[in-house]
């Protein structure tokens, strides 16, 4: 029963969602939106599980002084500080007032956002290092990749003169013909893969996500 009920629910709602795609009527939309609302409800409930998991794993590291336990301590301090300021006990516990709390806003604006921006900006350096590895002409295919990359990168160079115009045309062709063809091939494959996997889930063939009885 513990296994049959989820499979039956997946089948019923999966089949409904297939039909819903072909039925634009308002009642069909209403049921669909009702089902989607459950995703948010389940998501909010599992967030509590997630936070509990984070606290347990971090506390275990701190308690047993495992290697690098200091990072876990910072995680816990950050978590509880933001929760404390976010709830804003002094004013209104059950409202969103806490989101305007002075400390909450300052922690968010002047610590979290700069750190996230720093992480994101690292991408530029990683692109450079990845490009260096990718563009080494070790084989014929790698050499072709290098040539294509050079054409794409140098096409906007103003010092190339008339060569730049040819490069621009070649780059446009590379992007619109071989590159787009490959992209579309992957898109078609992904689409078919999604349909096949969805059918497997709906029909109960793919049931790994259910766990054991």
């Amino acid at each position: 029963m513990k296994r049959q009920l989820p499979l039956a629910l997946v089948f019923i709602f999966g089949i409904f969602c297939i039909f819903q795609y072909f039925v634009p009527h308002e009642s069909s939309e209403w049921i669909y939106e009702f089902l989607l609302a459950w995703i948010y409800i389940i998501g909010i409930l599992t967030l509590a599980l997630g936070i509990w998991s984070l606290i347990r794993v971090s506390w275990d590291k701190v308690q047993h002084r495992r290697p690098n336990w200091q990072y876990a301590l910072v995680t816990l301090l950050g978590l509880f500080a933001m929760i404390t300021f976010g709830f804003d006990y002094c004013r209104s516990f059950f409202s969103s007032e806490g989101l305007r709390n002075y400390m909450f806003v300052h922690f968010f604006d002047y610590i979290l956002i700069p750190i996230q921006a720093t992480m994101f900006s690292l991408l530029a350096f990683f692109i450079a290092s990845a490009s260096y590895r990718a563009f080494r002409a070790r084989s014929l295919l790698a050499s072709l990749l290098l040539l294509a990359a050079l054409v794409i990168m140098l096409r906007f160079n103003p010092y190339l003169g008339f060569v730049g115009e040819y490069m621009e045309q070649l780059a446009t062709w590379l992007l619109n013909v071989p590159n787009l063809a490959a992209k579309r091939a992957i898109i078609v494959g992904v689409g078919l893969g999604i349909v096949a996997t969805s059918l497997k889930v709906i029909l109960g063939i793919e049931r790994n996500y259910l766990g054991r009885d």
């Binding site: 599980l49 936070i51 998991s53 984070l54 979290l112 992904v190 078919l192 790994n208």
Partner: protein
């Protein structure tokens, strides 16, 4: 004498200028009077019908523009659409559009509380007003009505998709039956998946853990569902080899499902006692905070193998490059086209697009799964065939073939 003449001439010139200026003003006034805006001729053939293939609350209108729109006096500067519940009722403004417009879709809200609510199965009457530059001068069309909106029970614009779904489902069922009957179905090699066993063996030899990243997708994403299957396989092998497993999660729902998957795998491997819930843990739902946490884990724990399977976005390269710096073997798979090149560059093996979905069948080798994998291959062959036919028909000017695949929203 000369001075006198000069003064007289100056006076004449000045007088002349004043006169000509006064004359220009008079002429302009006369022009305005004679060019008073004339009432334009109305639009014709106003027609309204229910919008097709929708949930209702929408009517599609069309008309023939006023003869004075872009012709004749060219004095129509735009149109206004009005609607009423009866021909004698109060007409409310529903839309404004510039000259030249000859159609409009009057979409109302479906929520009764909305000010734009437009009920279905209710008689409406429409008229279109041709506007001029003078707000007082306009011409209304004849009233059209009654007309009602209503929702459809079948979207005829999606018939090609329905045909494809039925065809694909039928092919899948036939191939599953064949596989069950013992038919030998050829399955292409997936080096990325074959490398998983090798990578786990390497981790065991090195005494290092395996890091499995499910990506930033939710449990509702098909890529994440496919990733669970691979995670199950990896976790089973890890349990058999008694290697460590680390699964940091971005989404709490994903974490819950992943915990069940790993737990099941450990039980299947006969080592349920070795499973710990701390193997699969939640980190954060902030993209770059998650990246920072996973990167930190990579650099501190130095896992022997990093496996990235699921949905990835801008963080893909940051993760994969950090893993490369840490010296781990890296296996990745995603259906996000923009991220595939990053993984190809930074990882040792990459499952490209649909290979991620094929992996579950490849790993399981069960007839049911193999049947669906073969159906995928046949569908791809059909798509290639249709693309070739499309190429030929378009080059011969036969547009009809393309129209067969038109899908409306």
């Amino acid at each position: 004498m000369k001075l006198k003449t000069l003064i007289v001439l100056s006076c004449m010139l000045l007088g002349g200028s004043v006169f000509s200026a006064a004359q220009e003003v008079t002429d302009a006034t006369a022009l305005t009077d004679t060019a008073a805006v004339a009432a334009p001729r109305p639009i014709a053939d106003l027609f309204a019908r229910d919008s097709e293939n929708d949930h209702g609350h929408s009517l599609t209108l069309s008309w023939t523009i006023s003869p004075d729109d872009g012709a004749g006096q060219m004095n129509v500067i735009g149109y206004e659409l009005y609607r009423a519940l009866s021909p004698d009722g109060e007409f409310e403004l529903r839309g404004k559009f510039p000259f030249g417009a000859a159609s409009y879709i009057d979409v109302g809200a479906k929520e009764k509380e909305s000010s734009q609510y437009s009920p279905d199965h209710t008689d409406f009457y429409y008229k279109v007003r041709a506007l001029t530059s003078d707000p007082e001068v306009f011409t209304d069309s004849e009233i059209f009505g009654p007309v009602q909106s209503y929702g459809q029970w079948f979207n005829t614009g999606r018939i090609p998709v329905l045909v494809f779904v039925i065809g694909f489902l039928t092919t899948t069922v036939i191939l599953i039956r064949r596989a069950r009957g013992g038919a030998d179905l050829f399955v292409r090699r997936l080096p990325g998946i074959e490398a998983v066993d090798e990578a786990i063996g390497r981790a065991t030899e090195m005494g290092k853990p395996i890091l499995y990243v499910l990506g930033l997708g939710t449990a509702a994403d098909i890529a994440t569902i496919a990733s669970y299957t691979i995670l199950g396989r990896v976790a089973k092998k890890v349990a058999e080899y008694q290697t460590g497993l680390i699964v940091p999660c971005y989404d709490p729902v994903t974490m819950t499902v992943a915990q069940e998957t790993v737990k099941t795998a450990y039980a299947d491997a006969g080592r349920p006692d070795a499973y710990s819930e701390d193997m699969v843990y939640f980190v954060t739902q902030s993209q770059f905070a998650y990246v920072a946490a996973v990167n930190g884990t990579m650099l501190r724990e130095r896992p022997a193998t990093n496996i990235y399977m699921g949905k990835f976005f801008a963080e893909s390269l940051i993760l994969a490059e950090t893993g490369a710096f840490a010296g781990s073997i890296q296996i990745s798979g995603t259906d996000e086209i923009a991220q595939i090149p990053f993984f190809v560059v930074a990882c040792d093996y990459t499952l490209i697009g649909e290979e991620l979905y094929a992996a579950s069948a490849y790993l399981g080798r069960e007839p049911l799964l193999l049947g669906s994998l073969k159906a995928q291959d046949y569908a791809k062959a059909a798509v290639i065939l249709l693309a070739i036919i499309g190429f030929l028909t378009m080059n011969f000017g036969l547009e009809g073939f393309k129209e067969l695949f038109y899908i409306s929203n």
